[in-house]
Amino acid sequence: MCSSLLLQLDNLSCVRQQKILFSNISLQLTAGELLLIEGPNGSGKSSLLRLIVGLLPPSEGEIFWQGSPIHKKYQAYTEHLHYIGHANGLKLGLTVRENLQLQSLSLSLTKNISLILSQLQLTQNQDTQAKFLSAGQKRRLALAKLFLFPKRLWILDEPLTALDQTTQELFLAQLAIHLQNGGIGMVSSHQSIFLKDTIPIKNLRLGI
């Protein structure tokens, strides 16, 4: 197995409620590559992402992380992974700061938290409970952990929903930096995502 090969999907199929969502998806992602998953509603984008994260077992096929199946070394796999699903994974009763503490699992946040908060325009709300934030602000808060705790693999389900233009651009810029630093990205989206030409993007269309 080639050492630079990081994530590999081998013949993945997903059957939910006796309906085949997708079958025989095989692809490889190496450092610096982005996989863009497109498709209409209900085509299985979220299911594919949840499969890759290991929240759903595949009906058929296998997922390899650095050459070994993910369920064999699951803890070592999730250590490298950021997953943000449809639900943001925020605790609505906790404040912005407390949510970040919970995500980092530490009281002392490592990186410069105020810089990230100001970039995401959340500085004024850092002691507001998450339930009082708008949908876009919640999404921004969910994305904050990507920038605060660097991990190699970003798996994001519709990251651009509810974000305004500035934050979308900020997110895309951060995504580009992440990829240039040798990270891997997997993003499902309705909208088309524009990055610099130098970044290799693989496209996967589901539901055709």
């Binding site: 290991g54 992974l81 943001n88 994974g89 009763g93 699992l105």
Partner: protein, 223 residues
Amino acid sequence: MTLKTVWLVFYLELVLLLRRSQEWLHPLGFFIIVVSLFPLIFTPNTELLQKFIPGYIWLAALFANILAIENIFLADMEDGNLEQLFLSQLPLTLLILTKLCARWLVAELPLIFFIPLLGLLFNLSAPTVIILCVSLLLGTPILICIGSLCVALTLGLRQQGILLGLIILPLVTPTLILGVTCVQQFQAGFSILGPLAFLAGVSVFTITLLPWVIASTLKISYE
């Protein structure tokens, strides 16, 4: 490092529960009202009341427990936090255990604190109140563990409430019997060590093993 993280998770869970006042107010209010209604359906005979009220308090605690745990995982499922728990670097069993501890502190311990007051209301003797408290102190962890397991089993079903009652109540019957036996044996003048030791044993057994079972069940019902 791990201990610090567990403490943080526990602390934030507590903050969350205390901010949602219904989590501890509903079981407590329900418990007090149900117990205070009891004399109304009986002839106001103090001796009879003193004989029956400890068992009835246990029964009320059983019902209040259902209220206390019925949405223990619901918010986590809806806001996507459950997924993040599955992906967390901390063992899921440990996270579940912290959740159960926080829930017990917030929703069950206040019931026990109120028992001396209820004892005053029904003119129970001080030793009876103490034994009632001790039996509930040992018994409520069992109730919360078994209850959470049933919640995990029925996660994502509609009309979970009634179903939960139907599943939990038969499962906790042994706990009820042991707990009530403690008080009854004391009132009859026998030694209570036997049922108390049994209750403590079952309590330790559930606290150590059930979080692990709950974690596995959660994973299965989440898929």
